[in-house]
């Protein structure tokens, strides 16, 4: 952190604040106790006030001091214990809160650099990567609406709620509560900021709209053809046995297509609803790949395509939902088989223990490479990747970015008699996104295509093997 070593940014250190507050509180305590001696009739009130000041000063300053090493039992002061435990408890509650909570100090109204974070709980520090006390608020929250609301809380004493989204591929929707905190007049104003993740609620709402629009549009086509044939069968083809059989075959195929479409749409919607919930299970990617290869062997034999599975000896254990991982491999393999000509070869490769850059590296020389999903870079995480490579017609560069769109089809390509639903890769994309993995496509016209899905591996705790629990 070059800025940390540069001497110029001078953040107000917390210790100095503690010092001034501590001194003034001490003086006021001495004055009050002194007065209590002078006017014994007011002693109860004065000492009560002194205790109040002492406790509030302690509460305001202690929570962020890292070592609460107050000798609690010293002098056997039993009546002090509850407040000490209380303060510590509040501190721990604050830390344990699931929603990010910040306390912001004001400074000068017209100086944006005056808004500093004086306290942040664990969730907030994790989310915003706040490294030190006194960090500038604007460095962690840039959203103008929230900044305005904080200003209003600090200088206008107004409570507000603000909704905002943090953009990006996996965008999240937040609701920010801003509340003024009472302070003695003349002191630096304080405001409380609480954030809550509202992504799921919003996502559900959006899903419904999208789902309806897409599903109705795609279902209309087979439905139109069905009703057309029914009309023909009711009319002049009523007594033509040959035509009737042919039409019924087509109708059955269309009904079948509709069924597949509905099944895919349902599974897509289910996956999307879970997209922001990290998967909890554990899957062996190599086994999943082998299972899928077994499952498609019948279909593959029909088309005289050979599927070659190449996997290392090492177990490729990843964090994931087994059904979903199988679906990823299944969809990729289905596509590869679909676009292979009879007699062709489809290769599946499973590789484990890859670094971030290795996982996203090119696998097909001379082809265009495009990441369709790229996860956030994480250090210390290894990835297992499954690559499905076909030798079909391949795709031109301009189609690649749009492959994961729902119902997108590469123009001029015949996918054979078994039409896809146009949702396969969209499903793959959402599953990969949920697993915080990556998806990569490489292709060039005439060269076939290679799809690589890579997922973070289970972190093996090899260094703590001393305990038998590790297995």
């Amino acid at each position: 952190m070059p800025y940390e070593i540069s001497p110029s940014p001078v953040a107000p250190t917390f210790t100095s604040r503690l010092w001034t507050v501590g001194t003034s509180v001490a003086i006021s305590l001495v004055v009050m106790i002194g007065l209590a001696f002078v006017h014994p009739e007011l002693a109860v009130w004065l000492i009560g006030g002194a205790v109040l000041i002492a406790v509030s000063a302690w509460l305001l300053n202690m929570p962020s001091a890292p070592e609460p090493t107050e000798p609690v039992l010293e002098g056997g002061q039993v009546d002090l214990q509850p407040s000490l435990i209380g303060g510590d408890l509040l501190d721990r509650v604050f830390e344990a809160l699931d929603d990010p909570v910040l306390i912001v100090s004001g400074g000068e109204p017209d100086d944006i650099a005056g808004r500093r974070i004086i306290m942040a709980n664990h969730a907030a520090r994790e989310l915003m990567r706040i490294q030190r006390q006194g960090a500038l608020l604007v460095q962690v929250i840039r959203e103008p609406g929230v900044l305005e609301a904080v200003d209003e809380a600090l200088f206008g004493g107004v409570s507000r709620t603000t909704d905002y989204t943090t953009g990006g591929q996996r965008d999240r929707r937040w609701r920010a509560w801003t509340r003024p905190l009472e302070q003695a007049p003349g002191a630096d104003p304080l405001a409380l900021v609480i954030l809550r993740d509202e992504t799921d609620a919003r996502r559900t709402e959006m899903m419904r709209v999208d789902f309806l629009a897409n599903a109705s549009h795609e279902l209309r086509t087979p439905l139109a053809s069905l009703s057309g044939f029914i009309e023909t069968l009711k009319g002049h083809a009523r007594d033509d046995a040959v035509a009737r059989d042919r039409f019924l075959d087509i109708m059955a195929a269309q009904a079948d297509r509709m069924t597949r479409l509905v099944a895919d749409l349902l599974s897509l919607s289910r996956i999307e609803l879970n997209e922001h919930i990290p998967p909890s299970g554990r899957v062996d990617l190599d086994r999943a790949a082998a299972d899928v290869v077994d499952a498609v062997s019948v279909l593959v034999k029909e088309k005289a395509i050979s599927v070659v599975l190449d996997q290392g000896e090492a177990r490729a254990s990843i964090n994931g939902d087994r059904d979903e991982i199988v679906q990823v491999v299944q969809n990729l393999l289905d596509n590869a088989v679909k676009y292979s000509s009879p007699g062709g070869v489809v290769e599946i490769t499973v590789v484990s223990d890859l670094g971030f850059d290795e996982a996203g590296a090119a696998r097909m020389a001379g082809a265009t490479r495009l990441p369709l999903v790229s996860p956030d870079r994480a250090s210390g995480v290894f990835y297992a990747a499954v690559t499905v490579r076909d030798h079909g017609p391949g795709m031109a560069r301009e189609h690649l970015p749009r492959l994961t769109e729902r119902f997108y089809r590469v123009e001029g390509q015949k996918s054979g008699e078994r039409l896809g639903t146009g949702l396969g890769l969209a499903i793959v994309k959402h599953i990969v996104n949920r697993h915080q993995g990556g998806l990569l496509v490489e292709s060039a016209p005439g060269m076939g295509a290679a799809f690589t899905a890579w997922f973070p591996m289970v972190v093996e705790r090899r260094d703590v093997r001393t305990t038998p629990l590790a297995d």
Partner: protein, 243 residues
């Protein structure tokens, strides 16, 4: 006395950094809202974007004034000087970003009068989201001074270009299919171009952040087109569609 001078100097530098972060937040919101106004055909939001651009301009002037003042009065050197100059450069990029967002919002106002074109506005939205992500990432890199993230943004510039080229072809197909949509499609085309340029500004900011932190320019080739792409370099769109 000496202590005081140093403290004020540090405060001034911090202030400039904070102003840039605030400008960044505003520019991000402008881009996001402009895209939303296109996607949702939200006239009120588009107007709000156009109006808020004034605020961004004011912030830009303010940052520049503060930076010039700092240079004149404090004569910063080394990393402080880079920080000050970097702030001026980033402020200009952000101001331009705001202008482009305003332009998108203005076109959204015009588009709101014509028939909705769902698939096309979806594509714009998708591209816009990609560009917003880049802008967010690079501003995160700036505020946290994380070199890796800035370089990552700089390296993935071709993703936006891919989207732009795909969208260009899509729009051409639409216009050839139905000449009545040419007016609206042209606006969408300019929006796509504006988004692409916002992406370029994000790349510029990444370069500035790199310079600010290391004192050196980013060296090495940006991974533009892949080796086999000679047959389809980034500007053949017009020639391929003239038949």
């Amino acid at each position: 006395m000496n202590q005081h001078t140093v403290k004020a100097y540090g405060d001034e530098l911090n202030q400039i950094t904070a102003e840039i972060a605030r400008m960044g937040g505003l520019a991000e919101a402008q881009v996001a809202d402009a895209i939303d106004s296109v996607a949702r055909r939200d006239v009120a939001l588009a107007r709000a974007v156009v109006e808020r651009d004034l605020k961004l301009d004011a912030l830009h002037r303010d940052v520049e004034k503060k930076a010039i003042r700092l240079i004149a009065l404090r004569q910063p050197v080394a990393s402080d000087l880079r920080r000050t100059l970097g702030a001026m450069k980033i402020a200009t990029d952000l101001e331009r970003t705001g202008d482009l967002a305003k332009n998108i919002a203005k076109r959204a106002l015009i588009l709101a009068d014509s028939e909705p074109m769902q698939p096309l506005t979806r594509s714009i939205e998708r591209m816009g989201r990609l560009v917003s992500t880049r802008l967010r990432d690079v501003l995160d890199a700036y505020t946290a001074s994380e070199l890796d993230r800035a370089v990552a943004v700089w390296q993935t510039d071709d993703e936006v270009d891919e989207h732009y080229n795909a969208l260009f072809r899509e729009l051409l197909t639409y216009m050839m299919g139905d000449p009545r949509t040419i007016g609206a499609c042209t606006h969408l085309l300019f929006m796509a171009k504006n988004l692409e340029r916002i992406g370029d500004h994000a790349t510029n900011i990444a370069e500035t952040v790199h310079y600010e932190i290391t004192g050196e320019d980013i060296v090495g080739e940006r991974p533009r087109a892949q080796p086999t792409a000679e047959d389809s370099d980034p500007t053949p769109n017009i020639s391929t569609h003239t038949h």
